[in-house]
Amino acid sequence: MPKPSLNAKALAWIKAATFLLALLPLAKLGVNAYLDDLGANPIEKITHVTGYWTLTMLTITLAATPLRRLSGWNWPIRLRRMLGLFAFGYGCLHLSTYLVLDQFFDWDAIVEDIVKRPYITVGFAAFVSMIPLAITSTDNMLRRLGGKNWLRLHRLAYLCAVGGVVHYWWLVKKDLSNPIAFASVLAVLLGARIAYRLGGAIIRRPATTRST
């Protein structure tokens, strides 16, 4: 049973703390860039760090629902939109690093990459599918779409995360340990949803028959 939700003040604190924590990787990257401490290949480093945190933020976002089911707390859901927007933010940085720093607007090379290199095709598609989610993240858009449609649209997040992991998996030269770690966590998070859906159906049915 969900416990009574936290009071507004506690929720505001958790939100502020999460916001700052989610900014930390970006701050660290900024400090390292300022100190010229990004290693011999800074562009590669920035690409990897922003990509890593896009995927991490997406994964944390997708952990909110199972965490609520497991703990009964409601507040993880209240953080979900912000975390999702952070994932989009890091994704924007990741893509702009590629477009500006890595390729420096060499559009021929960029288009060729997107068309010819499967890992870039998938990564780009995953980014593009985050755009409608970011656009419809406001309360106003939620109201205009209606809760049901909004939820349906936002299931795209599952696809984004899977795309992100595939993108990572396909680009790695040989050592797959990191992509495997992300894939495992994602499998648990998506598996939990399936389990709840199936389990929920089984548990709910006798309960409803009893109440009639």
Binding site: G39, A40, N41, I43, E44, L101, Q103, F104, D106, A109, E112, D113, K116, R117, P118, Y119, W170, L171, K173, K174, D175
Partner: protein, 310 residues
């Protein structure tokens, strides 16, 4: 009370700074040379090589800073991260070290590293290094043509290929505890590639002995091929009749061929090879055929379909 006056030194007795620095340098050099004459080679080798024959290659190319050359490496024996080798290669013991030269040769022999170091005059060669991951460096290597060693082994008429075997010792090379590649690391060349004057048996860089993360104590450098062809920390050189299968060919036969010549026309299946980022530069530069050594090595591949033999 009389104030103390320190003794003034006449100006004529003061040695000008450039002069005393020059004297100091002379004493160091002379002392170093005297010491070098007294000590056996391994000791002086560990402290740098002194004067070397300069390279006719690489004039006009800006050298990649030593910090990048020794801090950004692919050497999976010490981990798959670029900074793993610098952090973890300290455990590599480079003495004693020997290299077995064996297979289809008339004179198989195991050379001690000190025999290698004194086998032929050492020279500095400034080469471009192009990684298959589309980045590149310019490195002043120290060594001598591998051909010098090959000649001493006297390959038989059957020897068509040369295989290089790197050290396999997970105690010293912690990355080998993971099966990320098939250990020991194996690479190979066709014998005419191995005999080519550009192919360098390498023992140092930037005037000093090879740092562990760059393949100490002895490696090869094949400047017209992607970096992974240049085997590091070599313990055996085998002469074979058949083309050997290298560790990277086993890891991804579609992605890594036996030849691995730098070629902007033939893309890696997952990324373009048309351009590269020179470490330290912002804009990518165009990759040159055979990494800019076409004039020297193109004849080796006359008539070959380089898209097929990638």
């Amino acid at each position: 009370m009389k104030t103390y006056r320190y003794p003034k030194i006449p100006a004529g007795e003061i040695t000008p700074k450039p002069l005393f620095l020059a004297r100091r340098k002379f004493m160091q050099t002379a002392g170093g040379a005297a010491l070098a004459a007294l000590l056996p080679p391994p000791l002086w080798a560990a402290g740098g090589f002194g004067e070397l024959k300069k390279s006719e290659f690489g004039a006009g190319e800006e050298l990649t800073p030593l910090k990048s050359v020794t801090g950004y490496n692919n050497f999976y024996e010490f981990g798959t991260g670029k900074d793993d080798p610098a952090a973890r290669a300290g455990s590599l013991k480079t003495r004693p070290w020997s290299i077995a030269v064996e297979g289809a040769v008339k004179k198989p022999k195991t050379f001690d590293i000190d025999q290698i170091l004194t086998m032929a005059p050492l020279e500095e060669r400034i080469y471009r290094l192009r990684c298959v991951e589309a980045w590149s460096m310019v490195i002043p290597w120290i060594g001598f043509p591998l051909a010098e060693l090959v000649k001493r082994a006297e390959p038989t008429g059957n020897a068509k290929y040369v295989e290089f075997v790197s050290l396999h010792d997970p105690q010293q090379m912690p990355g080998q505890k993971s099966p990320v590649l098939e250990w020991p690391y194996r690479e190979g060349l066709r014998i005419d590639e191995a005999m080519h004057p550009l192919t360098l048996l390498t023992v140092g860089l930037y005037g000093d002995v090879l740092p562990p993360q760059n393949g100490a104590p002895v490696r090869i450098v094949v400047p017209w091929k992607y970096g992974f062809k240049s085997a590091k920390s070599i313990v055996a050189i085998r002469f074979l009749e058949q083309q050997p299968t290298t560790s990277w060919m086993l890891a991804g036969p579609q992605e890594y061929g036996f030849y691995a010549n730098v070629n902007p026309e033939v893309d890696h299946p997952r990324w373009s090879q048309a351009k590269e980022r020179r470490i330290g530069e912002f804009l990518k530069r165009k990759t040159l055929m055979f990494n800019g050594y076409a004039e020297q090595v193109a004849p080796l591949y006359a008539g070959m379909d380089l898209a097929r033999y990638f």
